[in-house]
């Protein structure tokens, strides 16, 4: 009996998990479920700068960074992967030291700016770090994952999954990558949206990322520049307000005055699927008819979804390993 795998969610977590599984088990029967067009998901909008916030996720971050390095070297732009250098400015030394502890040995070229170098910015801060990292922009990288998945025979279905049991009847292994909705499926109320706003502008001369603290950001994409953002815990309205715009433009122009004439191309709201800790674990369940099936949870990545996507996907593969070897003829 061949194992049938269902992945709930076609965002970066779902697609990465499915692809990692298919790279390890090329004959696996995989179906990916999504309940809305990709453009309406949280994974569509991010500029995807690789950047880590928590020490506990270093291993997964490193695995993702290695993967992006490989994709960048072999393919580059058409996969939505770019090598980008830049700075984070802050008056909060602890904030920058935390960044250093999280990723100085993972990203390239990590360093602290010297005193005379701080003056190069229009409104300098007390401290600044520099590093070279990757961006994996949602709107290009995830479609690239999807193309790869289709080439490997993965199937895609448009359906809102309302219970794991409904899938458990047909599938042996269900990967829960439903992002903001993942908690509902497993009675976990810890997933909370954190609203973010990105404004896309035309400023192709801006080749670096530049941040002030972690909330005033500018990140170049393959064709434009993203500026933003906000981090509103618990807020989930999807319409940009005039207040959002004024707040973001004030902060961004203070950081980068030369953006003042930049033409706005689009505006986007994303809801980061936040959880105190990422949930990545395995549980066995039973359908009403007593059929056992396995669930692997991979959700709650908050603001680090893209950064941790491949590392988490590899962990999914490892957890799935024992199940797949028992139940299939692969």
């Amino acid at each position: 009996m061949q194992t049938k795998v269902a992945v709930i969610g076609a965002g970066v977590s779902g697609c990465s998990s499915a692809l990692a599984l298919l790279e390890q088990y090329p004959n696996l029967d995989v179906t990916i479920f999504s309940d809305r067009p990709f453009e309406q998901t949280t994974s569509f909008g991010p500029a995807g700068l690789f950047r880590l916030d928590k020490l506990e996720n270093r291993k997964r971050a490193l695995a993702s960074f290695k993967r992006f390095t490989e994709i960048h070297q072999k393919i580059g732009g058409s996969a939505g992967v770019q090598l980008v250098s830049g700075h984070i400015l802050s008056d909060d030394l602890q904030l920058l030291k935390q960044q250093e502890a999280c990723m100085a040995d993972i990203v390239f070229n990590f360093g602290w700016l010297k005193e005379h170098e701080l003056k190069q910015f229009a409104n300098p801060s007390k401290y600044a770090i520099h590093f070279t990292s990757f961006t994996t922009e949602g709107r290009t990288y995830v479609p690239w994952l999807v193309r790869n998945l289709k080439e490997k025979g993965a199937k895609f279905e448009s359906r809102r999954v309302t219970s794991l049991e409904e899938l458990g009847r047909e599938y042996n292994l269900v990967i829960n990558c439903a992002g903001l909705n993942a908690g509902e499926l497993v009675s976990d109320d810890q997933v909370v949206p954190i609203r973010g706003v990105l404004i896309e502008v035309d400023a192709s001369w801006h080749k670096h990322f530049l941040y002030r603290d972690l909330v005033t950001i500018s990140i170049p994409s393959t064709t434009s520049l993203f500026i933003g953002t906000v981090k509103e815990v618990g807020r989930s309205d999807l319409v940009i307000t005039q207040e959002d715009r004024e707040d973001i433009w004030n902060r961004v122009l203070n950081l980068m005055p030369t953006l003042k004439n930049a033409k706005v191309l689009s505006e986007w709201i994303g809801l980061r699927p936040h959880r105190e800790q990422i949930r990545l674990d395995l549980e066995t369940r039973q359908t009403a008819d007593g059929k056992a099936f396995t669930v692997i949870n991979n959700y709650g990545h908050g603001a680090n979804g893209f950064t941790l996507s491949w590392g988490c996907a590899l962990d999914v593969v490892e957890l799935a390993g024992s199940q797949l070897k028992i139940a299939s003829r692969l």
Partner: protein, 297 residues
């Protein structure tokens, strides 16, 4: 006080503006055979990095370079749409030669990259590299801006070719000779010679760094395009685009940076860099139309 500047490239225009800035009451006239977009400065990538300089006076070069860097830096962070931009990137070599560049404290974030990190990044053919952040000032954007500013400040223009310095007439108190390669015929300075460069301008917006590969290949950032190079052919006056040079530039750069393969080629251009064993920056007293004048070269 009336001053004549000969030459409208980056040197001539910068000189003219600097004079207007320092001496607002001076009447400045700029005489040139060509203006942007037809000067060498338009072809250049405007990359701040001392290059192909045989001038041994590193102290002086460092000072000129540092002041220029600061000037471009002010443009990059304060004024929009000047043609100034920041770029970070790598210079890598296939040998282990470590040069001690006199300009390494002028640029930002300068550091040596280990062979291991180079290989981690996927540049397996290279043994040593440096990383730094520098500026670019695109001539084709900046020159027209400077020209507008020059005119707003009351500057006058004359669009004509001079066969010698007397051609400017006898009415100026001082003259600035910023004629580049033109100095050969303007003042008979035969030590000025062309260093021919051919480049390919491409669009590859997913590439955000500059790269210099050894001595003969480079990928430099401009605002809406990337400049691929290069050649440095001494005493070569040929401004036609050569297929052999194209092959060298394209094949080499795409081999070192495969992500370039999807780049869209916009145009190919050549420029003649005005080389000289040393940069001539000095004043002399000289007869112009029979009268002794101060000429600053």
């Amino acid at each position: 006080m009336s001053i004549c500047i000969v030459g409208s490239g980056i040197i001539g225009l910068s000189t003219a503006l600097a004079i207007q800035d320092k001496e607002p009451r001076a009447k400045v006239t700029l005489v040139a055979e060509s203006f942007s977009p037809d000067v060498t400065s338009d072809v250049a990538a405007g990359y701040w990095r001392p290059y192909l300089l045989s001038d041994p006076r590193t102290d002086v070069l460092r000072r000129w370079g540092e002041l220029t860097f600061q000037h471009i830096e002010r443009l990059a962070y304060r004024e929009p749409d000047t043609g100034a931009l920041w770029q970070s990137g790598y210079e890598m070599r296939q040998d282990s030669v470590k040069e001690d560049f006199f300009w390494k404290d002028t640029v930002r974030n300068y550091r040596n990259i280990s062979e291991r990190e180079l290989h981690n990044m996927g540049f397996s053919q290279f043994k040593s590299a440096i990383f730094y952040t520098t500026l670019a000032l695109e001539g084709s954007i900046y020159l027209p801006r400077m020209l507008e500013q020059f005119k707003r400040n009351g500057g006058m223009l004359q669009h004509r070719r001079l066969e010698n310095l007397d051609g400017i007439g006898g009415n100026y108190d001082a003259i600035g000779n910023c004629s580049g390669l033109g100095a050969r015929h303007l003042i008979n300075d035969t030590s000025v010679y062309p260093i021919r460069g051919q480049t390919i301008r491409v669009q590859a917006p997913h590439i955000k760094h500059f790269y210099v590969f050894g001595d003969d290949h480079y990928v430099l950032q401009n605002g809406t395009s990337i400049v691929l190079g290069g050649t440095h052919q001494d005493h070569d006056w040929d401004t036609s685009v050569r297929p052999a040079d194209f092959d060298h530039i394209w094949n080499g750069n795409t081999k070192f940076l495969p992500a370039l393969k999807t780049a869209k080629i916009i145009k190919q251009v050549t420029g003649l860099r005005p080389g000289r064993p040393t940069i001539r920056l000095e004043a002399e007293s000289r007869a112009v139309c029979g009268k002794t004048k101060t000429v600053v070269h």
